[in-house]
Symmetry: C2
Subunit: 509 residues, 2 copies
């Protein structure tokens, strides 16, 4: 399946050598590849250190807001039988969180213990709401080359870059951090195991192409550019058998092969459904979730991808650590061509430009992890703060913040949701804390009735999830915040309901 | 809402007069309009009597095959304790149905009674399977003007005719019988109350327009034709309060207003989502399910539709009963213009041509009901033979054969399914007979993996329905046949599973 579309006769012997993430880690341990530990301070000449600093500030303070919740609530819990509990609790939360709790959640502690599960969920939701509001109002992740990206993409021969990472929270920062791309200009749809929906993608392809025909946006249909679809699978170099992709049993070869199979199905679907040479270009990306180092599989001139022929950004990082940055693009480009030659593969010029850019961008991210996380995240495993479910979540561009299941119904997306609940059973439920689930439906406000339908869909998802996990819901171990957003208006999110304080839409106004 | 988009100043006084279906019936009873009973023998000069004969032959023999099932099984039931029961039963069923029953369903009657519920469902499914095979192999409903319809449509200024009738089985024959159109060239998507999905329709619009841009099919995008979307609501002139549309509480004014609201939302969605004057044309059709007489609301020059201004095919039938057929189109066209003038409405020439054709076509159907059903169906209410659920069912073009819920998931389409189960509770379940449910997913076989996904979706729908109606499922009062079809290959249907004989896919090969 992985090599199904390539011409075997043209493939030289050396292409048969498979280098997996595990191999790389093994080679690093043996000293063949310079180990990350040598460079924990970061500071690669090609890395954009100022960007890294901004991104780190945003990531650390955003996550800190979520991470202090448990500690503060533990602190409050000890005072719950004091006479002045309410004012004491409000004093602490205002100081620590910057917001007060709803009074009705604190009353009556003389007769019943605090509903800490609900309070915890309320705090997570309130923190998420503030986080989302900041994202849309101050644009902390605005990209320095936001305006230039589309022109660059077109210069590579593409008019859209559509990425399906795995739904795993450790890939939620794939676009803005790992690939350093402007999130507004990249389509992201996450699925467990990167196994995106082919029919959904076909619909999106038709819509994109139609707007090119009708409105000449982002470029005219007569321009010979193509839709570029990428799938991003993942693995863990430190704990390959445990912390890889759950959807593929932590088997990185299987993860790559199945993601590639899905890409090829989408491509063939386009080719078979439409005439006149309709096709798309494909890109297969792997990511080591320990350190955000990516590998990009290099397509040949016909766009065919193999599992073996890839360029590893970690290798490039090490090979270029002492070189001059003034020529960074050319250096990375040469390394890419060298790697392609090694496998007898001749990628198109545009694809070389595109991959070169992504590898170079990723060097900044590798440096970021080296500098701020000592070369490997301390949360190598799952550490998501909440589950996101539905359609939307543009504001979530941070690693391990959200397990995100892109789905229209629980009925069809049950597999993705189940993985999320399983993860949160380990993270929260086992410790008596609820899984906070933000249910989301973005809508096009210029279509009459769309908001009402989005609200109805949120409620439908909420109900379906509770029916699927009745025990957790019954015990207060599943709390939900229902959110919609008009994606045409570039608006803030709108909270429409919450299981925590149903009567007043959760106080999340 | 109903008159929301029209210019009130331009509306003359007489437009305020509302004539509902009930009014018409009342006027008929008072003799103002010639009553249907005068013409029960049919034979209107404008009617296509030979077509009617063919359509009746097909309808009557198709339904007879379903309708004899119960009687034959009652007959068999009485022999179940005889020693030669199996051969006796097979003899009778072969003779009556033309097929034998699976032996394993007949064995063991000495120790346990026949599972008549399962046998009944098996027979319904087998009959449906034969019915569908006949439809695709011999094309009994091939339309005499099949090849000319598209040219006619384009001459009216449209490139596609997309109809959403109510899901009610009494409208399942809307395209081929009531409107006398070639079913292959009309898009039909049924929803309870004709309340079609706006987002789904927008996707379809984009797809249709894209193919015009890319492939020039059915005509080039440069041609100034439009997408024509129709909604068809219904009422019952004999029992307006009981046998109208369940989704709108048998209120025909509400049914019309809400269908129109949905049409306008779709139109506005297209206009707001796409530039360059993108729009669609709308048509609102009402049908009296007693006698298949339609009314078409006449849009003004700007395409705006009101609830009051419509032409009633029953009136036209009566007014033209003694006229010469050689000039039928012109006569109906004049009556239409007269009616439009009465309301101060000036429809476009293309719309006049289109409505004229539909009214003239419907005269044949009114005549059909007069001749073969004495002017009013004996099954004024629900008399569906099975429920159809999912995507597809092109082969079902017969009245009251199928309650059809067009849905992708039970989660989103629950309302439509619930109506179907409610109907079958009255028809079957109360009498101890199961609701036979055909679950269907048509797929595009040229997209890799599409068949497997269609099969998986069928299974997912099956499971979701059983979870929604656990008691009925448990008691054997809900039986399912899972069917897929490659709609690209113009293939027969393919049975993939059945609850009746799960181990051998139901014997329906």
């Amino acid at each position: 399946m992985l090599v199904g579309r390539q011409n075997n006769r043209a493939r030289p012997q050396q292409r048969m050598r498979v280098r997996t993430a595990e191999d790389v880690a093994h080679r690093q341990r043996k000293g063949v590849v310079p180990a990350a530990s040598n460079a924990h301070v970061g500071g690669h000449p090609f890395a954009r250190l100022a960007d890294n600093e901004c991104l780190y500030q945003y990531e650390s303070r955003s996550k800190a807001a979520f991470d202090k919740i448990e500690g503060v609530l533990r602190q409050i819990a000890q005072y719950q039988h004091r006479v002045d509990f309410v004012s004491q609790a409000q004093h602490i939360t205002k100081q620590e969180f910057g917001f007060a709790l709803p009074e009705q959640m604190l009353d009556n502690t003389w007769v019943a213990p605090l509903d800490m599960k609900a309070i915890y969920a309320w705090c997570v939701f309130e923190t998420f709401h503030r986080f989302a509001d900041e994202f849309y109002s101050t644009e902390p992740l605005a990209h320095p080359q936001d305006q230039q990206f589309q022109a660059f993409l077109e210069s590579c021969g593409f008019h859209i870059f559509d990425v399906s990472p795995c739904a795993d929270g450790r890939l939620a920062h794939a676009v803005r951090y790992v690939l350093r791309l402007p999130h507004k200009h990249v389509r992201r749809k996450s699925y467990a195991g990167a196994m995106f929906d082919v029919e959904d993608s076909l619909q999106k392809w038709v819509k994109i192409e139609h707007i090119r025909h009708r409105e000449g946006k982002p470029n005219a249909a007569s321009e010979p550019t193509r839709y570029l679809k990428a799938a991003m699978y993942h693995y863990s170099s430190s704990q390959p058998d445990v912390e890889g992709c759950a959807a593929h049993g932590s088997d990185s070869v299987k993860a790559a092969a199945e993601a590639l199979g899905r890409l090829e199905a989408f491509q063939q679907g386009v080719e078979n459904s439409f005439c006149c040479g309709a096709s798309i270009d494909l890109m297969l990306i792997g990511i080591d979730t320990d350190n955000d180092s990516i590998r990009i599989h290099i397509p040949d001139a016909q766009g065919r991808i193999s599992g073996e022929c890839f360029i590893d950004a970690g290798d490039v990082y090490n090979q270029t650590r002492h070189l001059n940055a003034s020529n960074d693009l050319a250096i990375v480009g040469d390394l890419l061509k060298e790697k392609a030659n090694e496998f007898g593969v001749q990628p198109s010029d545009g694809m070389v430009r595109m991959i070169t850019r992504l590898i170079l961008n990723n060097i900044s991210q590798i440096d970021y992890v080296r500098k701020y996380f000592k070369g490997s995240y301390s949360d190598v495993g799952h550490q998501e703060r909440f589950i996101g479910m539905g359609i939307g979540f543009e504001e979530v561009q941070l690693r391990n913040l959200t397990y995100f299941a892109y789905l229209k119904t629980v009925e069809q997306g049950a597999k993705d949701l189940d993985v999320g609940i399983k993860i949160f059973t380990g993270l929260n439920i086992k410790r008596g804390l609820p899984a906070p689930v933000v249910i989301r439906y973005d809508y096009h406000g210029n279509v009459p009735g769309a908001r009402d339908r989005a609200v109805a869909r949120c409620k439908c998802l909420d109900l379906a999830m509770r029916q699927r996990f009745p025990e957790q819901a019954e015990k207060g171990l599943l709390h939900t915040l229902l959110v919609v957003r008009d994606c045409n208006a570039d608006n803030k999110i709108e909270v429409v309901a919450s299981s925590v304080t149903p009567e007043d839409t959760g106080g999340h106004h």
